[in-house]
Symmetry: C2
Subunit: 344 residues, 2 copies
């Protein structure tokens, strides 16, 4: 997929604005849960002491803000939408870490690992609620109520897809009959829906008309699937150091794209071995090596990289279809490039 | 607290309307998770076969609809608000059952018990999202966007309190220094906030002016605390048959009002024993009997019943303060009476 790209320079000033919006939202409520949420965001350690960590990559808020900018909108007016999609993403991470039994995220213990599953469930629920509270702040920027209602509707629809996608992700763990089509359905819901609402909210709130919103939505959705596939590739061939979490997708029997491809396209002994290993719970170190060997023989990584490239190109095509000038499109293209090519 | 009361006749027709709204909301989305949500609501068994169970008491939706009626509003216009508060309540139950490790609810296995914790987390998240989706349907009934935005704000604020209250509930389990004041703070958040938004949404959406809304909010909140205290009493002195869940509040070391009162007001050996037992995890059968004996000696049940009565009277005073005629207030009074006096 070509040379590495970096995050557009144009995003640097927005990053602080998003963080300020997030901090303001989290700190203005929830006296008890605030500490857990601030910890999860990377702003403090478990004792409440500030720590100079980054709060993730802010991919979704970047996409929201740059989509607003692309349609010529006033980016200062969409900060609360940018914060909202980031909060939904983070609520989902807190719950996902419980579901996956993940002990670490970004080289730190997960919320449930420190405070227990119950409080992590509560913290995620609170983060989820804050996404809606934040979105309501659009009215402070003079956004009309009609647009706020539509924005909440767009966010809710994406959240429903996200929950359904999370369900499928867990459900697939115990199944051997998952096809690439099933996988793409899950990725569309689990990941692409939130990407799609990030870009479409930015375009919708940044413009008066709505004829371009659907292109932005589809740009976000296609990019989201490409991103999920890249994440799957990293989850198998990436290393702990680079991703900040143990590459345990195989040991957890996650039905990531390379594995789904492998199960669908293997024959004879290879298939028997894959099916045998994926019937265990969890897969041990020796099994993981064996799975990787089979996937390599089948060319599963090439297949996944090609498919990610197709979705990436599909995303760019949606952006082109907006008919906006190159200078309008470029920051989003650079972001897409940065997101997808980060480590391979 | 006087003679038993029954649910006002006037509510019977609304019950079906709320259920229809809920079914419509749950069925119109979420292909994968729908079964779990329908099961939780009591509409089907775990295999998807219909079962003729009731879907809980619909207390919160009743309060919403009757508050709308009390201000002379068109109740058909608030059905989606009534459904929304019911969905928030049920999302919270699904997650609460995981947090408490409860195996049964209404004499049936809980969602996590059947589908596992991960899928129950996802099901709760989905139910939570549906609450917002449902509230947006107010626009189909001609409610202005401005009012919808305010309604979402009211609901979000209540949900934040709910999450914070759930946090405190779990946090208190491991602490011996909880006071009645701490308890009331937790009950206000965990239970009363949702009661308060149920009544205030009904009044707000049912009327043009807003001068009465705060009375309804306070009526709901005070009633909610009274309800929580009654639930606490049932959780210790109620029986499995009547409540539909095992009366395990003591064995789980829940800091319910009678226990908090007991810890605050016991001395000497009784206090040592209580503190000793509440430092164990969980409390065994013999310990439960001992706790109950100490609470009985301290008059903890009388204390709790008196406090519930005070909040009940406080709730009625708020209703009186609306200045509405008796025929407007009566259905809400009957509902309050029904809720609080159900089993003791």
């Amino acid at each position: 997929m070509g040379a590495k790209c970096s995050l557009p320079q144009s995003f640097a000033p927005y990053r602080n604005a998003v963080r300020a919006e997030l901090e303001n939202t989290i700190d203005s409520s929830l006296p008890s849960l605030r500490n857990l949420l601030r910890y999860h965001m990377g702003w403090q350690d478990e004792h409440g002491n500030p720590c100079g960590r980054e709060s993730g990559k802010f991919i979704r808020s970047t996409l929201c803000i740059l989509s607003c900018q692309a349609v010529g909108g006033d980016t200062s007016r969409v900060m609360s939408a940018a914060a909202a999609v980031e909060l939904v993403h983070n609520f989902s991470l807190i719950h996902d870490d419980i579901e996956d039994g993940s002990h670490e995220r970004h080289h730190r213990p997960t919320v449930w690992k420190l405070w227990g599953e119950s409080q992590a469930i509560n913290a995620g629920d609170a983060m989820f609620t804050l996404a809606y509270s934040t979105l309501l702040k659009l009215s402070e920027k003079g956004i009309a109520d009609e647009k706020i209602v539509s924005s909440i509707e767009m966010l809710s629809r994406a959240c429903l897809e996200l929950c359904d996608g999370q369900y499928l992700d867990v459900d697939y763990e115990n199944r051997l009959d998952i096809t690439v089509k099933d996988y793409l359905d899950m990725a569309a819901k689990k990941t692409a829906a939130l990407f799609g609402v990030s870009t479409s909210l930015g375009a919708y709130l940044g413009s008066e008309g709505s004829e371009l919103v659907n292109f932005f939505r589809l740009f976000g959705r296609q990019l989201g699937i490409a991103y999920q596939i890249c994440d799957d590739i990293l989850g198998i061939w990436g290393t702990v150091e680079r991703v900040g979490k143990s590459a345990g997708d195989i040991s957890q029997r996650k039905k990531t794209l390379p594995v789904v491809y492998g199960l669908q396209n293997s024959e004879g002994t290879a298939r028997e071995r894959l099916e045998g290993l994926y019937s265990q719970k969890p897969i041990g170190d020796k099994g993981v090596s064996e799975v990787m060997k089979i996937l390599n023989q089948l060319g599963a990584r090439d297949y996944a990289e090609d498919l990610a490239e197709q979705y990436y190109q599909g995303a760019l095509a949606q952006l082109e279809a907006t008919g906006l000038g190159a200078s309008r499109q470029d920051p989003l293209k650079e972001t897409a490039c940065f997101i997808l090519k980060r480590d391979f």
